[in-house]
Assembly symmetry: C2
Homo-oligomer: 122 residues x 2
C-alpha cells in the first residue's frame, strides 16, 4: 500500500505541477509509456498526450489544485481513489470525482478512468 | 443510458441466476467472449471462468442476492455502479461494493473490476 500511496501522490503532483519541464519528469516517473487517461471531459494517451491534456486543464482552471480525499483502495493491479478540485482561494469549488486505474508491471500507472461525483449545477 | 441500464440489469441477473443453463445463456448475452472479472476475492476469465466463479459464489452464499443501489454512471465505453448483498431473509448483510467496467464494441461487458465498500467487521 505504501507504493500505491506514493504512486497516487505522484499522480496528484503531475496534475498540480505547472512548470512544464518538472511536469514532464513527474509524468515519466508516474505513468507507463503507453498509458491512457479517460474521463467524461478529457482524454490523453502516452506521456505526450497526458502532458498536453493536463497543460490544457491547468490553462482552463488557473490556480486550481486537485486534492485527494479519503484513502486509496487497491487490490491486485487495480486501484481507486477520490479527489476534489480546490480553487485559488483554497476553497473547494464543488467539483469532485473518483478515479479507477490499473498499475503496470513496473509500478507505474497503466490506465486511469475518471468519473465525476460532483459538479456545480450552475 | 438505456442500453447501459439493460446491460447492468443483465449483470445482476447473471449473479443471481442459480439455474446453470439459464445462467450460461445470460452470461453469453451479457459478457463478451474474452471478458474478465476481478475483485479482491474472486476472478474469472471468459464465459466458462465467469460461470465457474459465480457458481462458486452462489454455493458460498446460498440464497443471497446482489442488488444494485443508486444509479449507474457511464461515459465513453466505461461504467460504474454499486451494489449490496441481500441475505435469504431479504435483509442487507453488510456487504457492499462498487464495480467499474468497460463495454465491448458489441455492447457486452468486456471487463469488470470490483471493489468492496463495506464488509462485516466480525
Amino acid at each position: 500500500m505504501t507504493d500505491i500511496n506514493r504512486l497516487i501522490d505522484g499522480y496528484f503532483a503531475v496534475w498540480n505541477e505547472t512548470k512544464a519541464e518538472r511536469r514532464r519528469d513527474l509524468i515519466a516517473k508516474t505513468w507507463a509509456e503507453n498509458a491512457a487517461y479517460l474521463d467524461p471531459i478529457m482524454s490523453g494517451e502516452g506521456h505526450d498526450g497526458i502532458d498536453r491534456m493536463i497543460a490544457g486543464a491547468q490553462a482552463q482552471f488557473p490556480g486550481h489544485v486537485f486534492r485527494q480525499i479519503g484513502k486509496a483502495d487497491n487490490h491486485n493491479d487495480r486501484l481507486r481513489f477520490s479527489w476534489v478540485l480546490v480553487g485559488p482561494d483554497g476553497n473547494e469549488i464543488g467539483v469532485a470525482g473518483t478515479d479507477f486505474g490499473t498499475v503496470s508491471n513496473d509500478g507505474r500507472l497503466a490506465a486511469i478512468t475518471g468519473f465525476l461525483d460532483q459538479m456545480p449545477t450552475a
